[in-house]
Amino acid sequence: MVVEEHPKRRSDVSARAVQEELVVLDRAGNHIHQLNPTATFIWHRCDGRQTVQAIADEVAGAFAIDPETAREAVITSVRRFAELGLLDRTRD
């Protein structure tokens, strides 16, 4: 995964906040997912406009962690979102 990629969540999945977590319903894929607070934070920023690096910078600030750890967390999460089919397939 390239940190200049712009991950974009699919518009046809439903997401509902529950305290600091998120429940994501993918009807087309027939799956339901629970996102922990960190994954929720990253999910909200997968808007197709922010790069992986930009999201990582925000994660580092919000969670008070070093940039490398933040970058790894974002890459892992975005990769997982993609594996689960929750992101639009875009070309950067």
């Binding site: 998120l22 339901i32 629970q34």
Partner: protein, 273 residues
């Protein structure tokens, strides 16, 4: 033809039985819901025919179902009946779960098929719990009460010796069916407020049971995955799962030997939210 009339979730059901074996099976399973006649909302004819004898299930509006043996017959009937009842009560949110009452409140027990839900329910009935259902939990989302669905308690295999089955428990090719009148507890007849939800986890060899509270988000996802008619409800049923999960404590229960597991469930409920 013997006619069995039931009242299920306030709907009238008629089952015409043209064969004693078929009659015995549906009566074992659903006899506790017997009620007076009247124009049925759901009308079945069941029996056996042919050589060799094959069970059949007939209902207007669907193709005839057939089954080679008693277990398959009852399983097909259960499945069709559950679907049709959900259509008749779209207002209720159905979860695949066992439901028992302790005191004035209900606890819901959710797991995948074969996860030990019915065995645990059977055991809990010996420890101060009363019976609503071991299979379907119809929830009124406005009041958060669970309606009874007192089909016979179905076990795929004999429970551990600590909680043996009653003598002469009917058996089919697919398991045992404890008639409601043979349960060691009362049968609840009215909707009961929900107090807690337990998601069961079973692994052979676990020494002691354990319980941990889970987040509302995790509980909502798990409930949704076990909802039977989510699309009949707002927001594809996600609202319903969230409503239940955010208004009640939800737990993951790792089961072990039945007696300590039952004690842990009781203690968890008595501790309250």
């Amino acid at each position: 033809m013997h006619i069995l009339t039931l009242r299920v979730l306030d709907r009238a059901v008629r089952i015409g039985c043209s064969d004693p074996a078929a009659q015995s099976l549906v009566t074992t399973a659903y006899g506790s819901m017997r009620s007076g006649g009247g124009e049925p909302d759901l009308d079945y004819t069941v029996g056996r025919e042919g050589v060799p004898a094959t069970f059949f299930i007939a209902r207007k509006g669907r193709e005839r179902l057939t089954a080679a043996d008693d277990g398959r017959f009852l399983a097909l009937f259960d499945e069709d009946f559950a679907i049709e009842i959900q259509k008749l009560r779209r207002d209720l949110y159905f979860v695949h779960a066992g439901v028992l009452r302790r005191g004035d409140v209900a606890a819901m027990f959710v797991t995948k098929p074969g996860g030990g839900k019915s065995t645990l329910c059977w055991a809990l009935l010996h420890h101060g719990f009363d019976y609503l259902s071991d299979e379907l939990a119809p929830v009124n989302l406005a009041t958060l009460e669970v309606h009874p669905f007192s089909r016979a308690l179905a076990l795929k295999k004999e429970p551990p010796g600590s909680h043996p089955l009653p003598p002469l428990t009917p058996r089919t090719s697919r398991g045992f069916h404890v008639r409601v009148e043979d349960l060691p507890a009362a049968v609840v007849q009215s909707p009961t407020p929900l107090a807690a939800v337990f998601f069961l986890s079973y692994a052979p060899g676990v020494a002691e049971p354990a319980v941990r509270r889970i987040s509302a988000a995790e509980a909502a996802a798990r409930l949704y995955a076990n909802a039977l008619n989510p699309l009949a409800h707002r927001d594809d049923g996600l609202d319903g799962a969230l409503r239940i999960a955010t208004t009640h404590p939800c737990f993951e229960l790792t089961t072990a030997d039945l007696t300590p597991t039952c004690a842990l469930v009781t203690a968890t409920l008595e501790r309250g939210p």
